[in-house]
């Protein structure tokens, strides 16, 4: 009976911690019970002589919000680029959804369920909000050339189906009023929202956000935080985000990893990390 009930552990699944392991904090215990979605193991990346990432290991659990923070130049964006497949690390392995991978291309990463936003909004400036988000559905649209040329029947059905999905996202992000506006004409804050919408349209398993609050005022930040939390709570999406605003990081994230000069200097809950002397030193610029 026992053997039948006990399913073999899937790759990447950690065995549940015993309840008596009181030395671990509650959150860490929860983390140990969670399923690992992404794992970076001793990853190093250099460009020519510059070492952008040095021997960094951390993981991201399914369903959590993981913040990556650190002073400027710490290698945070490079980290996301590695996860995405833009950069190939010289050392280390990356395991996503249980499968280790070596070389990854951005479009393959997309196919596997990783979506991303950028520091300098990478929207298609010549297209409208609606079209930008519809592009996010590309991977899910299947109808081929002939149907596209004739645009009746199946191609039209598909277009309408995906339009519906996109409209849900538009409603959720409250951007109905700018649906048909060319994104190049939108203010920065709204552009960031559209970019989030495009990433959401991909229905990814892992959402990478590169400074989603950058350049926003308080009200916009509150809106964006609300969206991120809802995406994580209601849609169950795993999120890894880079952020500079400490208040946001503390409020939003479940766990935090801190990078400085390419190395990991702390990893834990926001409270643990906030109290960590190394982290404080790094931000204050104290040599260590």
């Amino acid at each position: 009976m026992q053997d039948q009930l006990q399913a073999p552990p899937a790759a990447g699944m950690r065995p549940a911690a015993s309840a008596s392991d009181a030395s671990l904090s509650g959150a860490a215990q929860a983390a140990q019970q969670a399923e690992t979605l992404l794992e970076l193991d001793h990853v190093s990346l250099s460009f020519g002589g510059v070492k952008a990432i040095r021997d960094v290991s951390f993981d991201v659990n399914k369903g959590e919000i993981r913040a990556i923070i650190g002073p400027n130049g710490a290698g945070k964006t490079s980290m996301l680029n590695v996860i995405n497949g833009f950069y190939h690390p010289q050392e280390g392995t990356i395991t996503f959804k249980g499968r280790a991978r070596q070389d990854m291309r951005p479009d393959i990463a997309a196919g596997q369920g990783i979506a991303r936003t950028f520091q300098n909004v990478a929207l298609f400036k010549g297209m409208s909000t609606l079209d930008n988000i519809m592009v996010g559905r590309s991977l899910k649209m299947k109808r081929g050339l002939i149907w596209q040329m004739l645009r009746i029947g199946p191609a039209e059905e598909e277009e309408i189906r995906h339009r519906l999905a996109v409209e849900h996202i538009i409603d959720f992000l409250e951007i109905q009023h700018i649906r048909k506006t060319a994104v190049g004409q939108l203010p920065y804050g709204l552009q960031k929202r559209v970019e989030l919408g495009r990433a959401l349209a991909m229905e990814p398993d892992l959402l990478l956000l590169d400074e989603p609050m950058a350049g926003m005022n308080l009200e916009e930040k509150e809106d964006m935080s609300r969206f991120i939390l809802t995406v994580n709570d209601s849609f169950g999406m795993t999120i890894a985000l880079i952020e500079h605003d400490m208040g946001v990081v503390m409020d939003l994230s479940d766990r935090v990893v801190v990078l400085d000069h390419g190395k990991k200097i702390a990893d834990g809950t926001p409270d643990e990390v906030g109290a960590n002397q190394h982290v404080i030193d790094a931000y204050l610029g104290v040599a260590h």
Binding site: F86, F118, N120, A122
Partner: protein, 322 residues
């Protein structure tokens, strides 16, 4: 598989045999290639000057070559002595540069590069029409003797045969060398030259630092105009001055691909490579397929080159950041 061997034989072995059998002919072809290459380099040089300092790809460079030459011949035919005509031509090229800056470049200062490129295509069309309108469409002879340029040829007995070098070609090569050195010194050693290089990267930042774009653009288009004039004179001296030159000027594009869009030495080396390879290909491979492969061979060469090195020999590596 026989056909593979025959093909390889025809392409590589037979020409080598031919070369070995008539080395003087080979050297002659090499020289012709060198000469053509020098002229391509000069046209490419005009492109590089403008691109280096303003980021604009001046499609009208070829027509400026024709225009310069036509103006010179036209002025001379009005009775003006050769050297005065030359001086007047330089003034004309200056006015052209000034007009282009005011009418075309200034209104488009913040537009993306592709818009400026298309504007130069429009400019090229305009200058062709204007040139034909003012000077007429028939070919003209260059006033070589009146300018003091040598004619005739030097015959060298090399490698058991005869190689004939036109004196005008030697003069052209020397003149290009002088111009290139002068320009290289200008860009690297003088204050204005450095300012020009700064402008190329970013119009708007240059403005915010206080460099007057207008002056720089006029200077650089004028310099390109002078190079174009010199090219036109040299080229016109070898064959007549006509609008057919404009098509040949498109050959400068493969040169730029090989040499990079911003490198003066690149333009020279690229030009020589294109010139020599084109003539060799035409002479030894051309007959296999009916001849005239000069018209597309340089482009294919550039294409293959681009595949492996998208930024050319000397160009800056294109780094895209997101």
């Amino acid at each position: 598989m026989d056909w593979v061997l025959t093909l390889l034989n025809k392409l590589f072995v037979a020409p080598l045999v031919e070369i070995a059998g008539a080395p003087d002919l080979f050297i002659q072809v090499l020289w012709e290639g060198f000469v053509a290459g020098t002229l391509y380099s000069l046209i490419a040089l005009g492109f590089v000057l403008i691109f280096k300092a303003s980021g604009v790809f001046n499609f009208a460079q070829g027509i400026m070559v024709v225009f310069g030459a036509l103006s010179l011949v036209g002025l001379y035919s009005l009775g003006i002595p050769a050297w005065a005509a030359l001086a007047l031509c330089i003034v004309i090229m200056f006015s052209l540069a000034w007009t282009v800056e005011r009418v075309v470049l200034r209104p488009l200062v913040n537009q993306p590069d592709i818009i400026l490129f298309m504007a130069t295509i429009g400019l090229s069309s305009f200058l062709v029409g204007f040139g034909e309108f003012v000077f007429g469409g028939e070919p003209k002879t260059m006033i070589t003797a009146e300018l003091g340029l040598p004619s005739g040829s030097i015959d060298l007995a090399i490698a058991g045969g005869l190689v004939s070098l036109q004196k005008i070609d030697i003069a052209a090569a020397l003149m290009s060398a002088v111009m290139v050195t002068g320009l290289a010194v200008f860009f690297n050693k003088t204050r204005i030259g450095r300012a020009l290089r700064a402008v190329a990267d970013d119009h708007q930042s240059a403005l915010s630092v206080g460099i007057t774009l207008q002056q720089i653009w006029v200077i650089v288009w004028f310099a390109a105009g002078v190079v174009a004039l010199a090219t036109g004179i040299m080229w016109g001296a070898r064959s007549d001055v006509s609008f057919a030159l404009e098509v040949v000027a498109l050959k400068a594009l493969p040169v730029l691909i090989l040499g990079g869009f911003t490198s003066i030495p690149g333009a020279i080396i690229g030009g020589l490579i294109i010139g020599v390879s084109e003539k060799l290909a035409e002479f030894y491979w051309g007959p296999l397929v009916g001849g005239s492969i000069e018209s597309w061979f340089p482009y294919f060469l550039a294409l293959i080159f681009l595949w492996f090195r998208p930024q050319g020999l000397f160009g800056e590596k294109i780094i895209e950041r997101v």
